[in-house]
């Protein structure tokens, strides 16, 4: 099968455009690809349980070839590459300041800081706490849950926080408990981080011994924290799936509303927040809301920890103020020859080099921390396939759009690689992707086609987008691709 690639005219994609549902016309750019396709619909066999693809095509580097040899990698202590504000926060101050105020005032401080959830969804933390505090508690119980199920590919900043600054996290949970009127906190730690369990258990015990946990943390405020491990399910990072798992069931996301702040763990109002969020909350109570919001943008206040990996010289955890341009992160990490960055993990989007001026923030390119750099020699179809395999494996299986949609798109990616994806089928896949984005029951399904769509949009040549005969000339945009 011969693939003949004709250089693509650049598209000049507007910087502000954020595409959720890709229109067909924008795909079928002025790209002429001669392919040999198989006629008619084709039912693929169940895929073999294989590893990631490393097959090189046309002599270009496969997904598997390393740009930076492991031995050449610059090591860093704690895996942290920049000064870390959180490492400078003295433990205990935050909680002390919180307990000296009323719970409502604590919520106000968090609110004023403007901090938004650091796990990826970016819900304003203060608003979440207020909703939980104000929701009726049928039997008087409320819960604080720390989402330590860091499973988004490319994310490891929580691993570092839990390993090296666990007290900040536990303190933040305690502050939350005080603020919303909860007496019980649970850390849901992903099973893949089992090596962190003993350390956390030790810290919980030490804090209990120091009166920072248990009965009478403050008169009238008891707070206990326990640890529960996950068992290998990415979807349990979704907060309602996490709650299902805590309740001893399959980790299948719930229909929302109601949200956990109204009806969460065992039906009680529950705050589910990310590890990093709790750590920052401790810092905010210690140093003040204004201190936090002095950094970042109006709609995305404060610093953010990023997990940089992939084709960079210096992978690791980086702290940047929100609003940082992607190019700056690349410069710091040694990946300025990148072709694209997958920001936000598998559930994120693929940002091409032409858009590296965009910023990491909730209003622009959002992420829970994952920042995977794609070097110039990578086979992007393999990237797409790797991501889609991930989603097909990790889908909980409840709803048809995700359960069936993920494997259908995965099959489509393979057809594209093998040159047997007809334009009609690709059009159908793009439409299916749009349907998945709006009908899937949870965020996993909703975001699962995003990287695929962004690759199609920005790299149609690499993705072997087939030409559609009869496409009206005026629908071909003036530019396209990279």
């Amino acid at each position: 099968m011969v693939v003949r690639v004709v250089p693509v005219l650049s598209a000049g994609v507007p910087a502000e455009r954020r595409t959720r549902v890709l229109r067909v016309q924008s795909l079928l750019l002025a790209l002429t690809v001669v392919v040999v396709t198989m006629a008619g619909p084709c039912r693929t066999q169940k895929r073999a349980r294989s590893g990631p693809k490393t097959r090189a095509v046309d002599g270009t580097a496969s997904i598997g070839s390393r740009q930076h040899s492991v031995r050449d990698r610059e090591m860093a202590p704690m895996s942290v590459r920049t000064p870390m504000t959180l490492a400078s926060i003295e433990t205990g101050t935050g909680l002390q300041r919180a307990l000296a105020q009323s719970p409502t005032d604590v919520v106000d401080v968090v609110d004023r800081s403007g901090i938004r959830g650091r796990g990826g969804a970016g819900f304003p933390t203060g608003r979440k706490w207020r909703l939980a505090a104000d929701s009726p508690a049928p039997d008087g119980r409320r819960y604080v849950v720390c989402n330590a199920d860091e499973g988004e590919p490319g994310t490891f900043k929580d691993r570092v926080l839990l390993a090296d600054l666990p007290d900040l996290v536990l303190e933040g949970m305690t502050i939350a408990g005080y603020a919303i009127g909860a007496t019980e906190g649970v850390v849901y730690l992903r099973g893949e981080y089992c090596y962190l369990r003993d350390g956390l258990v030790e810290r919980i015990g030490a804090r209990r011994a120091a009166g920072l946990l248990g009965n009478g943390v403050r008169p009238g405020f008891d707070f206990e924290i326990r640890l529960q491990l996950g068992s290998g399910a990415y979807v349990c990072g979704e907060e309602t799936a996490l709650l299902e798992s805590l309740e001893g069931r399959r980790g299948q996301p719930r229909s929302r509303p109601p949200y956990p702040v109204t009806s969460g763990l065992h039906g009680a109002p529950t705050v589910v927040d990310n590890v990093e969020t709790f750590a920052w909350v401790t810092a905010i109570l210690a140093k003040g809301a204004d201190w936090f919001s002095a950094v970042g943008t109006d709609r995305s206040t404060g610093p953010k920890l990023l997990s940089v990996s992939g084709d960079v010289a210096r992978p690791g955890v980086y702290e940047f103020p929100l609003g940082v341009p992607i190019a700056d992160v690349l410069a710091a990490a040694g990946g300025t020859d990148a072709r694209a960055v997958v920001v936000g993990g598998a559930a994120g989007q693929c940002v091409p080099a032409s858009l590296f001026g965009r910023t990491i923030s909730f209003e622009d390119v959002s992420t829970g921390g994952a920042f995977i750099v794609i070097g110039p020699d990578r086979v992007l179809l393999d990237v797409a396939e790797n991501i889609m395999e991930f989603f097909a494996d990790e889908s909980c299986g409840q709803c048809a759009p995700c359960r069936i949609g993920t494997v259908t798109i995965l099959d489509g990616i393979r057809r594209l690689r093998e040159g047997r994806c007809t334009p009609e089928h690709l059009e159908r896949l793009v439409r299916l992707a749009g349907t998945m984005q709006v009908t899937s029951l949870c965020g996993l399904g909703q975001s699962s086609p995003d990287v695929f769509l962004s690759l199609l949009e920005h790299f149609p040549q690499d993705m072997r987008v087939p030409a559609s005969p009869g496409l009206p000339a005026q629908l071909v945009p003036a530019g396209g691709g990279e």
Partner: protein, 182 residues
Amino acid sequence: MLNLPPEADPAVAAEVDSLVAEHGRDRGALLPVLQEVQRRHGEISDLAVQVVADRFGVPPVDVLGVVTFYRFLAGRRGRHVVRLCRTLSCAMAGADDIGARLERELGVPMGGTTDDGAVTVEWVHCIGQCDRAPAMLVDDDAVGDLDGDRAAETVAAVRARDRTLRDEVAVRVGPTDDQRSP
């Protein structure tokens, strides 16, 4: 009424009962109990599933649904588990080559267990070691910055430790039934 047959191993029910006593019998304790059974035995046997179901007052297929949902609970594994990450950063760093090397070293395909029941090697998705890609979990530890040699050395060390331990046990207690051999 769960009417266990006379040939059912009483140790299974006894162990489940002690775990329930430790973790509680409300449904929230189900996962910790299942995790512990899996950790001790490398699998959650059918008998264990039925006893757990009985003690928690839920249908057996319900417990099976939980077991088969979580990657780490389902299936049967050897005494040591090597989990090699295959997701993007690790794939780009050459996880596939590591996988091929491990298969050669252990003599089993990915997903398989060595004949002596010592090591299971399997693909997993992102384990949060992307800055040290390619990386793998070896039992409860993470090993990153792998190349083929380092990966091979790691599993060789695991096997050696396993052999030593088992030799020690054999010397101490004599031949025993190995509940984890295939």
